[in-house]
């Protein structure tokens, strides 16, 4: 009797041990798989998204992603996934400098999805290679801004004639200076490849992908996976991991999509969706498509 009971007890313990082993294995197997995979991987390619209007806020996020790429030892290359028609000048220059700082440390490849114009093109200039699709548009190397200022009413007290009221001459000089900076950097970074003169670049034309490759605004036709693979190759990686840094979604678009009680609907092509989105409050449109009326804005397609 006692022998039977000890056998049964041993069998129970055996079963429990097997079940426990299966459960533990099920938990640990993915970890082990990841470990095995990463052990084989030579490093990571970080895909950083640049989309929508370039503003101080969007560049803050992108700069953080680029800084992480520079400080994370496992990240060996960066791919910029670009779909933007530009934005304000100062954030565009900040983006340019952040990408330049990253490109000095590791290979950076830009992959233009739809549009990579004006401030967005400014930002991707330091990339080692620029890939475009045959339907992509790049270029628009120029600056746009209002030429005059609204007269300040007499009830406002100012300390000088130029306070809050620059003259048309001053605006022209400001915009001309910004243009020279932009064109100069295009010639510097694309200098060896570009077949256009400084004067032709300053026309601020936007080029379709194939023409951009031909005149040196871009280096080749290629999709995002090709750009990622090429970035890994530039970093000397055969096996690599990919991490994607997406910008945070704003709530604005969600509100537009749900508030359709108004009979009048205005449609706007969104940068974040593939189709048109019904907009019932046009004044709340999340982004001005490709240029801002302010003096500090870059033009685009």
């Amino acid at each position: 009797m006692s022998r039977d009971s000890s056998v049964a007890q041993a069998r129970t313990i055996f079963v429990v041990a097997i079940v426990a082993a299966v459960l533990v294995s099920a938990v640990l197997a993915p970890v082990a798989y990841d470990y095995g995979t990463s052990a084989q991987s030579d490093g990571t390619v970080s895909v950083i998204t640049i989309s929508g209007t370039i503003s101080g806020t969007t560049v803050d996020g992108i700069a953080e992603d680029l800084r992480n790429a520079r400080t994370n030892e496992s990240i060996e290359a960066v791919v910029l996934k670009v779909d933007s028609g530009g934005g304000a000048v100062a954030p565009s220059e900040r983006l340019y400098l952040e990408v330049l700082r990253t490109a000095e440390q590791m290979p950076v490849v830009a992959s233009v999805q739809g549009v990579g114009a004006s401030g967005a093109y400014y930002g991707m200039l330091p990339a080692d290679e620029i890939y475009v699709l045959s339907s992509s548009q790049v270029g628009s190397v120029g600056v746009i801004g209002s030429g005059g200022s609204v007269p300040v009413p007499d009830s406002i007290i100012r300390t000088g004639p130029d306070k809050a009221q620059p003259t048309a001459d001053q605006r022209e000089r400001t915009i001309e200076s910004l243009k020279r900076q932009f064109v100069g950097r295009v010639m510097e970074h694309r200098g060896e490849n570009i077949s256009l003169s400084r004067e032709e670049v300053a026309y601020a034309r936007t080029y379709l992908g194939p023409e951009a490759v031909e005149n040196g605004y871009a280096d080749g036709i290629g999709s995002l996976p090709a750009a990622i693979d090429h970035a890994a190759e530039l970093a000397g990686m055969e096996d690599y991991d990919v991490v994607r840094q997406e910008p945070p979604n704003t709530l604005g678009l969600f509100l537009f999509a749900t508030e359709t009680d108004n009979g009048t609907q205005i449609y706007k092509q969104s940068d974040r969706t593939s189709g048109v989105v019904p907009v019932t409050r046009p004044l709340m449109v999340d982004e001005v498509p490709y240029h801002s009326p302010e003096v500090i804005a870059n033009a685009s397609a």
Binding site: L97, L100, R101, R173, S177, G184, R185
Partner: protein, 330 residues
């Protein structure tokens, strides 16, 4: 449990915490800090000389050389003319300072016989960017006025496409569109304006639409080495003189062709300028603009108009002369 039994674990706890925390604090002193080396990329990437845009030099004074005095200049304000108060004052104050009278013709004063009456008492007519058409009687009056030696100055910006159609009929001038080709100046005075604006991407002042023009021939060009026109339209001339033409490399927006385009022309007693921005107080003293404005004022007062023209109906002649009474002279 005795307190003595807790001593050993407590000591062990303190030792472990001290080693771990102390080690963490000491580690940076051994390995060095993690502050990355920062290079000033913004400064490295900025060529201060290349991006500096100097302020344009403004100098000189607007002066008239003419010895004529007491002339009456009529400024057309009856046809939706678009010329800002600032621009108008540049020319008007020059004329008034030199002893001439400037009258403005409003819409009320241009109705019926009043238009020709105004012309009859004037020596010169200034028409800028008309936006409304002229009646046949008004056109006939202006033509008779001009044929009698009355000076007419036309100013036309590219934006004034509405006015262009008015100028089309005024004095028989015609706006020439590139699509229609270079021929077709039906104007009896042989002056026409093309559509589009001029720009120069290579040599310009502050902005590609501010083009330089150099002096040609005729009284309007005297003493003008170089003038600046903003957003100007090119003119063509059949006979007469090209007073100012743009420097080489200037292009027309509609054709993108590089050429030297005429922006100020004169033919007998008619002069035309394809811009009004040169009269803007901030532009009036750029380059040689002040000399050109002085020349334009001189042109307005230097005419020798026959008295009492256009003839009043009571004199027996028609208000609408059909043939030139005064052949053009070179």
């Amino acid at each position: 449990m005795q307190a003595r039994d807790l001593t050993a674990p407590a000591v062990a706890f303190v030792v472990i915490v001290a080693v771990v925390v102390g080690g963490a604090a000491a580690l940076p002193f051994v390995t060095g800090g993690d502050t990355p080396e920062v290079t000033n990329l913004a400064e490295e990437q900025t060529d201060l000389d290349a991006v500096r845009v100097d302020a344009a030099e403004e100098s000189g004074t607007i002066s008239m050389e003419s010895s004529a005095s007491g002339k009456t200049i009529l400024v057309d304000q009856a046809h939706g003319n678009q010329l800002s108060e600032e621009k108008r004052s540049t020319l008007v104050s020059t004329l008034v300072e030199n002893g001439h009278e400037v009258r403005f013709v409003t819409q009320e004063q241009a109705r019926g016989q009043a238009w020709n009456q105004s012309l009859r008492n004037a020596d010169a007519l200034l028409v800028a960017n008309p936006g409304q058409p002229y009646t046949p009687d008004q056109l006939a009056g202006v033509r008779a006025f001009n044929e009698a030696g009355g000076r007419v100055v036309l100013l036309s910006d590219p934006a004034s496409s509405g006015g262009a159609s008015a100028i089309t009929s005024l004095l028989g001038l015609r706006v020439q569109r590139p699509s229609s080709g270079g021929a077709g100046l039906s104007s009896s005075l042989g002056v026409a304006a093309q559509s589009g604006y001029l720009f120069n991407m290579n040599e310009y002042q502050r902005n590609f639409e501010n083009v330089y023009a150099t002096g040609g021939s005729g009284s309007l060009a005297e003493g003008v080495d170089r003038a600046v026109f903003s957003d100007a339209r090119p003119l063509t001339i059949d006979r007469g003189q090209t007073a100012l033409s743009t420097i080489e490399g200037t292009r027309l927006s509609t054709t993108r062709r590089a050429d030297t385009y005429a922006v100020a022309v004169q033919s007998d007693d008619v002069a035309m300028v394809g811009d009004t921005d040169f009269l803007e107080p901030t532009n009036a003293y750029l380059a040689g603009n002040e000399a050109f404005i002085g020349n334009l004022a001189d042109f307005l007062v230097n005419g020798e108009k026959t008295r009492n023209a256009p003839a009043p109906p009571s004199s027996g002649s028609s208000e609408r002369p059909t043939a030139p009474t005064r052949p053009p002279t070179a």
